[in-house]
Symmetry: C2
């Protein structure tokens, strides 16, 4: 029999519906891969093999009893970044310890109602405040494409686990790029939806105005499957919105599609080959009838806005984690503690200035969508790099804009760097056009080179 973990969620759902295999067999296939490679990759902070088995059996029993499938995710193994609450399971937030919640986060609740098999909690950059997933408490998560290389972050465990086929899909969180960035580094599709469309209740806050939960998957079509389960208004979440019709999106014809490249290569220096590869994709779109329009971000300042987002995150996470910090200083690395202290004690006017800086960017970003339906950018300015190398400061330079603007954005795998590591192509659309963005991805993905699967442990 084929390795069941080779199927994406969409095909898995079809096979489970057809009874080609059981949810428990599927889980066993994933657990078997975990058994083989988790020692090398270190994706999980908490593996939940036994609860997952109960959930898989429950899915199989539903099928045996003739109950209709609860959703496309019924019986499908999904894992969660470890800043997302799952009732009764520790949430570390990538720190030594943080809490064991009594209640599910809203996204975990939705996954449960959908019948998903919740297979574990995934490693991440400490506090989600960084992008290497070189975690001082839980160790490094290796990039399945190349040992010794970062999977990116902060949702590095989520990306590595999906790329290594330890789960069919995973949830990450994205405050300035933490879903799209590791998706790009690991050759995956990753989505940050419209701000507020997926509830962040029960997710450890980094920045209330920039945080998003989003899925990482092996195919762009899987993103829509997860989004349909996760999106919805949550009256208990102050940031949650009524996103009626956000998921609508009819098929996109590339002919006549107006797209723009809002930043130049000069705004953010890229390593060799990145911008050249990106331009190949721009040309491919034009070749298929899409129209490039001129819609640049006026005087973009990627460093300034990134630092503004960082200060807001340090201050807001510093507030959110203050109680635990005062009682359990040892659960924080010195570097993370220093960042939180810096943000907590900064004078309020600096925080206000940072918030206003990003509000101005939001205004600029929204205006671009009057001229172009799609904004196109590389996802990152480089491919994955060795842990030994200092992280490039501008890792989030291309992704942050969608957080500031609250607009949906996704990364598609789009080929390999000269060095043989995956690259990502980033698509952004106007707020609440999430369904339309996915439809654009559906039209564009066939133009991009298909990636082989990584060989974990390489």
């Amino acid at each position: 029999m084929t390795d069941l973990t080779l199927l994406d969620i969409t095909d898995t759902a079809a096979s489970l519906a057809a009874g080609d295999f059981s949810a428990e067999a599927l889980l066993d296939a994933y657990l078997s891969r975990i058994g083989l490679h988790e020692g090398d990759l270190n994706c999980f902070i908490t593996l939940l093999a036994e609860p997952a088995r109960e959930q898989a059996r429950a899915a199989d029993q539903r099928r045996a009893r003739g109950v209709g499938r609860l959703s496309a995710l019924d019986g499908v193994p999904i894992a969660l970044k470890d800043n997302i609450d799952l009732a009764g399971v520790p949430t570390t937030n990538g720190m030594a310890r943080l809490r064991t919640p009594a209640r599910d986060s809203e996204v975990a609740r939705r996954l449960r109602v959908a019948g998903a098999v919740l297979i574990g909690k995934l490693n991440m950059h400490e506090g989600a405040l960084g992008a290497t997933t070189d975690n001082p408490h839980h160790g490094r998560t290796q990039n399945p494409w190349r040992r010794g290389y970062t999977p990116g972050g902060s949702s590095g465990g989520s990306a590595a686990a999906v790329a290594a086929r330890f789960c069919a899909g995973a949830l990450g969180t994205d405050t300035m790029g933490s879903v799209r960035l590791p998706a790009a580094y690991c050759g995956l599709a990753g989505l940050k939806p419209t701000y507020g469309l997926i509830s962040t209740r029960g997710v450890v806050p980094l920045s209330y105005g920039l945080d998003h939960v989003g899925p990482l998957c092996r195919s762009h079509r899987d993103l829509g499957v997860l989004l349909a389960v996760l999106a919805g208004h949550d009256p208990d979440c102050a940031e949650s919105i009524q996103g009626r019709n956000a998921l609508d999106g009819e098929a996109v014809d590339l002919r006549g599609l107006r797209f723009a490249v809002p930043l130049t290569a000069a705004a953010t220096p890229c390593t060799d080959g990145i911008w050249e590869d990106f331009e190949v994709h721009v040309d491919a779109l034009r070749h298929h009838g899409a129209v490039v329009v001129d819609a640049p971000l006026p005087s973009p300042d990627p460093t300034g806005t990134r630092l503004a987002g960082l200060l807001i995150s340090e201050a807001e996470a510093g507030h959110a984690l203050a109680e635990h910090f005062l009682a359990n200083r040892e659960d924080f690395s010195d570097g993370f503690a220093k960042m939180l202290n810096y943000g907590r004690t900064a004078p309020a006017h600096r925080l206000v200035a940072a918030q206003r800086q990003l509000a101005a960017v939001k205004v600029q970003m929204h205006k671009l969508f009057d001229r172009a339906e799609l904004l196109l950018l590389p996802t990152t300015s480089q491919a994955a790099f060795p842990f030994e190398q200092a992280p490039p400061p501008g890792q989030a330079d291309f992704t942050q804009w969608a957080n500031h603007a609250g607009c949906p954005a996704l990364s598609l795998p789009c080929g390999l760097s000269p060095d043989g590591l995956p690259l990502g192509l980033q698509l952004m659309a106007r707020p609440l056009a999430d369904g339309r963005l996915l439809a654009m991805a559906e039209a564009i993905a066939p133009l991009l080179p298909a990636l082989a699967l990584p060989v974990p442990g390489n």
Copy 2:
């Protein structure tokens, strides 16, 4: 001929349309009252008699040329609080000086396009950060109902000018109650619309998340006339929303209307007679078939949330005014300077804590609208008081909730205190139900005692 200033905007518009009198005659009637009573009341910081005359003549010329009326406000004298930019006219923000803007604020631009006659800029509490309009730079604005009494604030000049019939309507701003509170103290109708529905671009910021522009008028029906001109998405304002359908609202039948009283008298102490008067109105609604439902705010903390709003205002206004402050310290009173310094230099985690406290209130408030379509409260816990009396600390205790929640709220005049001063009844509805809120006011206003007009200079 009748005193033309006795007509509300709605009747004035009908008369101008019918040609009963000219816009210039109307302006003269208002200027004549200003000439008689402004010396006593001190409503204006800048009177714009000559530009207003040009605008009135332009309105009359449009009529003479057979051009259709630009809007219901065409030829109608309207005044603006002095924190709202009018091109070429000083904006003091109630300070000694602040700026002379080259551009209109978005609301001034909309009024101009509508043909309104912009008659002047009105006194206010210094920096909008207080509620007496006892202004150290521009003097006290007297309450037209009783000399020596506050008109309330911070939009005190706006309320006094409308009550004294110096203009047909005025714009104020409302961060925790600064439109509704002076409306109540001066026997007027005042509206704070849904957050973001009216652009705040070109209005001096106090708090970006709490600030609203809103109209003060002599009748509730005039509120809708002004709202229709002022509301609309402004792509240059980060806080502006797409409020499609927010102004819709069919006639309301009180029978079966579900309303709630979210706070008890115990939550905010009221002076004698206030809560008793309020209960008379509650009974009147019930008598006409409306249904009281139980929808209390869980553990309300009016003082705590008011202090949170105050800290946010001090920090954000402190940031917004920083440049002027550093160069022109003398334009700020010591008391105002101290508040801004306090907010500017507070540690960021306190600002975050205040923002989160209000975010939690927003969640609670929105849930009330699942159980009741209308929330009813007194507008203030006392009537207007003498300038010599220390301002009651809880003046905004009943109004602030609508700012935290972003929901539309209005104050209707509802009778007199035992001491003969006006009282206000406050109505709140769910966000984006502005039109429905006005329709509820239309149904409720006839149940309330009509007020005579004040005699300025009393």
